[in-house]
Subunit: 380 residues, 3 copies
């Protein structure tokens, strides 16, 4: 029996009676498990693609790599989004050669010029008039849905899942934010040398915050105590909110844009409101801007992450607007997280058969692992 001293004077220690097992190291290292994840998760779940205002004109398209697949999104004549595998039904050429662009009229395969309408129907095979079974040669569709000005895809075109049912803690948490009206003020994409679950696990706890995120821990007293939410330690004096003098997550602690007028006083005071949409997006809504982060596995040991900073378009059109206090703050936190995610990944490989432990401060990881185990139908 060991009795610990705590480095933060005056704060009582938490006394868990049980440590929960993390996932075995193979789940972060074995390419065969990533293959199983592609099938069980990345081809069955909703995933964020882009803001709805990204494409403007009928025929405009954009290509995305989702798990180990490749799709494209196109605006049809009614300016509605349609999504298809980037595959011609003839011999399988990609239809979109560039990552984004504009079809003039139909979708025409660059190889043999088979033509498809913007809704995916095969319209013409040059030189050939096929009488039968033409319906079977339409483009392979994916399911699309929208929420909060975002476009989401599900590779299972017949999915019965609703996006809202996957939102944690729930679909109405950000109702008072004018999400649909916001525009991207800054976007960054980078690749981490870690499994995609390591990135989530790091996001889901603040036990690492005091040492890894000094600036963030200064803004949020609860984080300084290693707590991501107040309910992890009811005895702790700090509330689940930013410090009294802090307005937003910025390098100055001040809001850089007008505070959203539709927020309640409580929503303004808390300073940060989170929504997770597993497996590939989370949103952090502040009083003056919203940051949303999405990810895709690129190999069992690498993950591509995109972060977007969303602002009111009126603010963005102000020539004096300075976004850097918000961008620099978030980018620094992401840099700090990248370092420890990569240290965690490297250590998982070091002992081969390692299985870690979760403390009570990491309850959200345990919940995430339960969702993951359920997707993968495993018990480890």
């Amino acid at each position: 029996m060991v009795k610990h001293e705590d480095s933060i004077k005056g704060i009582p220690l938490i006394k868990p009676t049980t440590l929960l097992p993390s996932l075995p190291a193979a789940y972060y290292l074995d390419p065969n498990i990533l293959e199983r994840e592609y099938a069980a998760i990345w081809r069955t779940q909703w995933q964020y693609l882009m803001r709805l205002d990204t494409l403007k004109e009928p025929g405009a398209f954009k290509v995305f790599r989702i798990g180990d697949r490749e799709i494209f999104i196109v605006l049809n004549e009614d300016r509605e989004y349609r999504g298809f595998y980037n595959v011609c039904r003839h011999r399988g050429s990609v239809l979109c050669e560039a990552d984004s662009g504009q079809f003039s009229g139909n979708i025409i395969c660059p190889y043999h010029q088979w033509s498809y309408g913007l809704d995916g129907a095969l319209i013409k095979m040059p030189r050939i008039d096929v009488v039968n079974a033409i319906e079977d040669l339409n483009l392979l569709p994916v399911a699309l849905t929208t929420w909060g000005g975002n476009l989401y895809v599900n590779l299972d075109s017949k999915t019965s899942l609703s996006l809202e049912s996957m939102m944690i803690p729930g679909p109405n948490v950000l109702d008072n934010w004018p999400l649909e009206r916001l525009a991207v003020g800054h976007r960054t994409t980078f690749t981490l040398a870690c499994n995609w679950k390591v990135f989530w696990e790091n996001y889901l706890e603040c036990y690492h915050c005091p040492a890894i995120h000094p600036e963030l821990s200064q803004i949020v007293p609860l984080y300084q105590a290693g707590l991501s939410t107040a309910n992890l330690d009811p005895d702790h004096p700090a509330e689940d909110r930013v410090a009294a003098h802090i307005e937003s997550w910025t390098t100055t602690g001040r809001a850089i844009a007008p505070v959203f007028s539709t927020l309640t006083a409580a929503e303004q005071v808390v300073g940060h409101t989170f929504v997770e949409i597993y497996p590939n997006q989370y949103l952090v809504a502040h009083a003056d801007y919203v940051r949303q982060v999405s990810l895709q596995p690129r190999s069992v040991t690498s993950t591509q992450v995109t972060a977007e900073w969303l602002f009111d378009p009126d603010f963005l059109s102000d020539p004096d607007a300075d976004l850097s206090p918000a961008i620099d703050f978030g980018a620094r936190v992401l840099d700090q997280d990248t370092r420890v995610c990569e240290l965690n990944q490297r250590g998982l490989a070091a002992s081969g058969r390692f299985q870690g432990h979760l403390t009570h401060l990491e309850q959200d990881l345990a919940d995430f692992h339960d969702i993951y185990r359920n997707w993968m139908q495993i018990n480890t």
Copy 2:
């Protein structure tokens, strides 16, 4: 039921009643299938190596990578070609360190100096006089054969296959071309980011020609209609030949070298005569030169291709000879094919379980796939 409009006015549409299935996408993506192909095809079939005049002196050698193996060819004392695995029978060192060179006398292993005659017989093991079983330590031979001034290898040294039996449409098609006399005027080697079968499939149809090869389609009216041979559409008015004013496949349409005097009038007029020798070579014989293209898989998604332009040596020795109209024309067509082959490969990966369709215009692909299925003993 959909009735198509055709973009080429006045040409009747073809009405296939059935589309044939292409190969499943895994056959272009799965490294395990390439392993099976190495065993079932690349270690059992004849493959082009080089022109017979490449090596001149006894002891001259050249190394080749055939499928996943490595061999060398050497001229013996009678200036006959011999071929062996590039492996010393002792502990397995390569015998040829450089890709080409000259043995002075025997083949001597660079590691322990075991010596072999130019016919592969073990002659000496330094310091050792082995009395028994010396026959078992001769070099591992490969089978060689020649045709048309070309040298071919079969890794199965006991093969009973004849090269001629694998020639499509047949072994005598190029009898009137002085193939043995010709010399290489230009050679280019490059690697495409596609499976080797994608390269063949592209070669085997001209359905892509109108859009991808405008210069070639201008020279061959049938290609402008997407037809590789006239028998794909007996109703089509164009004959299986170059346009009336065209002499050869060059940027000018004119022959750049004297027309081969041994050709029949019909052979001159047609402008191009094809022979395929699966899995690794095709020849296109024109009135004034011959182009031969060979390939080797380097991975399941990459293929190394070598193209050679063969001319009469008297023409090549003419200081005023200008080969560029023939070289530029062929290189441009290969560049155009490279682009669409790589688009096709990328698209095959996009949907994972894709299986394409072949139209009646792609009958030669269906025939190739049947040969392939027979080699691989599959039914998919």
Copy 3:
């Protein structure tokens, strides 16, 4: 039946009656076999890490990659070495981010600041006072032992193997060398494009010496005859020692440092005394210095090698000491070996199913293969 001529006049030929089989090529090429070797050999056998004087102060650490694992060595408060997997027991982060450095006090995980004593005991989990089962969260230890001033690791912390039992020809061969007193005068680390067993096989015979190591063969007459030891050919006139006028393995043939005074006359005269400690180290002790070489597989076709030249520290502190005749000589031999090891590896891949042959001059390889077969529990 073939009767060989020998290139070395006057030396009788050896007449083996049997050639022994080498290992099949797959053992040098198949990543799955390397995985089995990691488990059967690299996680069960003692392996050299570094000289004992490498770390000086309590808390100093150094990271090593052993097989497919990663460990670190640390000096505890009593300046005793301890070794652990580089893995925090919490969620698996590495504990040592840099390859070497200094802990100030405890071992603190860079991720969540879990603290461990220099003997591996968990001391503190920030914010948490765990009452139960704390013993289970100590660092994962590895076994350490010392010999001759060297530190060795065994990943199996409960191994019952003794390092000395693995020394060939035996543990007392170098007793007269002041190994513990010596210091590293020069170190070089490089990676060869060959399987680790190819490197050992090359080391274990001198059949290649006349052609590959002309300088070394000039110093050791037996090597000029392709013999690594005199007992391979009792009829051979040369003794198992350097030539009469040679003092040490240097470019000049002269000792560059004072001859070790503790050596017997016979040990001085022989000029080289070998010890092998499979699977990862050999030592060559000369009259004035010792060279030790260690290795780690990095992939099935690449091996990392470190060579260290050990001298008396008094000699090293002499400002006029010139180590280059010893370093240059050894580095040249290693360069020559690198070339033929890589030729051997390349050739093993050339024919796919190759299995080589061992002559009587390669008896030590046969013995090594027997040890290897026993480790791997195979009969091939």
